[in-house]
């Protein structure tokens, strides 16, 4: 019985695809209609906009975005932001998720609350809170000065450090949740078995824990990367124009300079990056288990 459960935990069940009509699918119709109207139509219009200027079909938007070092730099900024945020979230979130999955009783409830309550606070509130804390007269500078680490308050807000700090603050739960759901299903006896076979903690981690939690790493990584590559509020509030991201370019294109084609082209490029990542990750998750089934 336990084995069946473990199987499910580690490898998503690969049901053979059959294209017969199943009436249960009808239940999804309201959701599908809503998503078609609220998501698919606007996205398609956006894609359409990116290929059109006042005179009809044109690739000027893409030429601008992909040909201008300024915009390439901004795409680079967004990718860098997403990469670093994802990496830090993984480094901090992996042990936290492990603790969450292994601890029992009251401590688990407390840990859960600590990790997921922040999700109920709006990003704007959280980010503004951070700026207050990081001000020259904020608590961080106060502590650093009074503990003698620095002589006078240093600038924290509007630095890249504050940006990454704020990004991890906002997106960490999105890394922990998928990791936790995979780790919770990891049979602790596998770790006992590894030890009984003479493997030390490092060997066990690299050969058992890491491969078996890889689906959680990929899922959490994909989630955090794809939302942080598109982040708008946090970079805007914590760094502003010093560190332009793709989302900010889009907003400016639409709201300030009213160059719809530029905004749409940038949006499509971001969409392609995220879609490619999601496709790659679902391929990665499937391959190891899929072949061995």
């Amino acid at each position: 019985m336990t084995l069946a459960r473990d199987d499910l935990a580690v490898m998503p069940a690969a049901a053979p695809a059959r294209w017969t009509f199943d009436a249960k699918a009808l239940i999804a119709v309201p959701g599908l209609v809503f998503m078609a109207l609220a998501f698919a139509v606007p996205v398609l219009m956006l894609v359409g906009d990116s290929f059109v200027d006042r005179d009809g079909f044109s690739l000027a938007g893409y030429r601008k975005v992909l040909g201008d070092p300024y915009y390439i730099g901004i795409i680079g900024n967004s990718l860098q932001l997403a990469c670093i945020t994802t990496a830090v979230c993984l480094a901090v979130g992996y042990p936290a998720a492990w603790a969450l999955a292994r601890i029992r009783g009251a401590w688990q409830v407390i840990l859960f609350a600590l990790i997921f309550l922040p999700l109920t606070v709006s990003i704007v509130v959280k980010t503004f809170g951070l700026t207050i804390m990081m001000r020259r007269d904020g608590i961080i500078n106060f502590l650093l000065v009074n503990l003698g680490f620095i002589e006078r308050p240093m600038r924290l807000v509007f630095t890249e450090f504050s940006l990454y700090f704020g990004m991890v603050n906002v997106f960490l739960p999105f890394m922990i949740l998928p990791l936790y759901s995979v780790m919770r299903m990891l049979d602790p006896r596998l770790l006992d078995a590894s030890a009984s076979l003479g493997a030390g903690p490092v060997h066990t981690f690299l050969r058992v824990t890491l491969p078996l939690t890889m689906p959680g790493i990929i899922a959490g990584g994909t989630l955090v990367f794809s939302i942080s590559v598109a982040a708008y509020v946090t970079p805007g509030l914590l760094v502003g124009d010093r560190f332009m991201t793709m989302s900010q370019v889009m907003a400016k294109a639409y709201l300030n300079i009213r160059d719809f084609q530029l905004g749409a082209s940038m949006a499509v490029i971001m969409l392609v990056i995220s879609a490619a990542l999601i496709l790659a990750s679902s391929y990665l998750v499937r391959t190891p288990g899929g072949e061995r089934r």
């Binding site: 473990d6 078995a193 089934r293």
Partner: protein, 376 residues
């Protein structure tokens, strides 16, 4: 296999250099609950010892302590003269076969078996040879490249055994390895595993709650109850000469009749029971409350000579037919009493409600202090 094992004890006993595994006064508590209470156990080299007991008796905890997956609160654990009490699990070289096998689901059969060799830094070429040998040992050569998740329970069991023995552990621990298998397969695997481990000469500790399994497989059985070992002995000692009522009732079927000692001499006590006066070997003070235990198969139909036999008369309550034998449950006047009689041939007249005379030898009865009495 088991017959062979019991026919061979002198030779087998001789090679069991005693004290190879020495568990000394080990105590383990979880919070307020004392799971193991100053328990000691000594196992000889190449011996196969079962820890037999109901769930919660501490047998799995003891196994995990020996493996190093738990640390004792008090006491010491030695293997081959080496004190392992504070040694980490991965440095103990003690193999474990887990209840659910705990095979690595992301590795193939061969990779699972090679896991320990790799962890210990055995060279690649040697690994391949050892894996092949281990697969041969459990007759799974054809499955080397399969996914372990695609194997049946019995096949997974074999791989778990191969994976544990391929690293040549100094001790092998088995935690109810057959509990997930159906009865037929379990019986085959019991004999096969016993054969493999005997040939390899691996000292084995086997945890089970299944008394038949323990009787079939073990050189010795440690009957456990509430964190203590009630009886440590060979299967025939534990079955035929149980040291406690608990052991008698946990291992095999038993009849038990409560009574009060009315007298005795020459090592035979007379006990007043609801079935009349019963005599049995033992030393108890007159007036002691005791329980007489007899194996159902030691009881026969009809009267016996008074000097050697107890003869009682009772009413049949139930007739349970097993094919090769029939079990009769008699009516008892007192709660807790049980008179079960196993007969190979059933007289035609026997049916529920019929009165019947049965007998058993004095030597076949055991007397224990009544539970809940002064000694408890």
């Amino acid at each position: 296999m088991s017959q062979q094992a019991t026919a061979l004890p002198p030779a087998a006993e001789a090679q069991h250099e005693p004290g190879y595994l020495a568990v000394s006064n080990v105590t383990k508590r979880f919070g307020a609950a004392t799971v193991l209470d100053s328990l000691s156990l000594s196992v000889g080299r190449a011996e196969f010892v079962s820890l037999l007991g109901p769930s919660g008796c501490g047998k799995t905890t003891l196994l995990r302590l020996i493996a190093g997956l738990l640390a004792p609160d008090q006491g010491a654990i030695e293997v081959g003269g080496r004190d392992l009490t504070r040694v980490a699990a991965h440095r103990r070289n003690i193999g474990v076969v887990f209840q659910n096998y705990a095979l690595f689901p992301h590795l193939t059969v061969a990779e699972n078996i090679a896991y320990g060799l790799r962890a210990k830094g055995v060279p690649k070429g040697e690994q391949a040879k050892k894996v092949a040998d281990a697969l041969g040992l459990v007759r799974m050569e054809a499955f080397a490249d399969r996914a372990v998740t695609a194997l049946s329970g019995g096949q997974q069991q074999r791989i778990a055994v191969a994976r544990a023995v391929v690293v040549e552990p100094s001790l092998l621990l088995l935690d109810e390895p057959f509990s997930a298998l159906d009865r037929k397969l379990r019986e085959t695997m019991q004999i096969e595993l016993r054969h493999i481990l005997r040939n390899l000469g691996i000292t084995s500790i086997f945890v089970t709650h299944d008394q038949d399994e323990a009787l079939v497989m073990s050189d010795r059985i440690a009957v456990m109850n509430e964190g203590r070992i009630e009886h440590l002995g060979t299967p025939s000692e534990v079955y035929a000469r149980p040291k406690s009522l608990y052991t008698m009732e946990f291992v095999g079927q038993s009849s038990r009749i409560g009574g009060v000692v009315t007298g005795g001499r020459d090592g035979i006590v007379e006990i007043d029971t609801p079935f009349g006066l019963v005599r049995a070997p033992g030393h108890f003070l007159t007036g002691s409350k005791v329980v007489v235990g007899v194996r159902p198969e030691a009881i026969a139909a009809g009267e016996g000579p008074a000097g050697e036999y107890n003869t009682v008369r009772g009413t049949v309550a139930e007739v349970i037919y097993f094919g090769s034998r029939t079990l009769l449950h008699f009516r008892t006047a007192r709660e807790g009493d049980r008179l079960h009689v196993e007969l190979n041939r059933l007289p035609d007249t026997v049916a529920p409600g019929v009165e019947m005379t049965v007998r058993w030898r004095l030597d076949d009865s055991r007397v224990f202090p009544a539970p809940g009495g002064a000694d408890r």
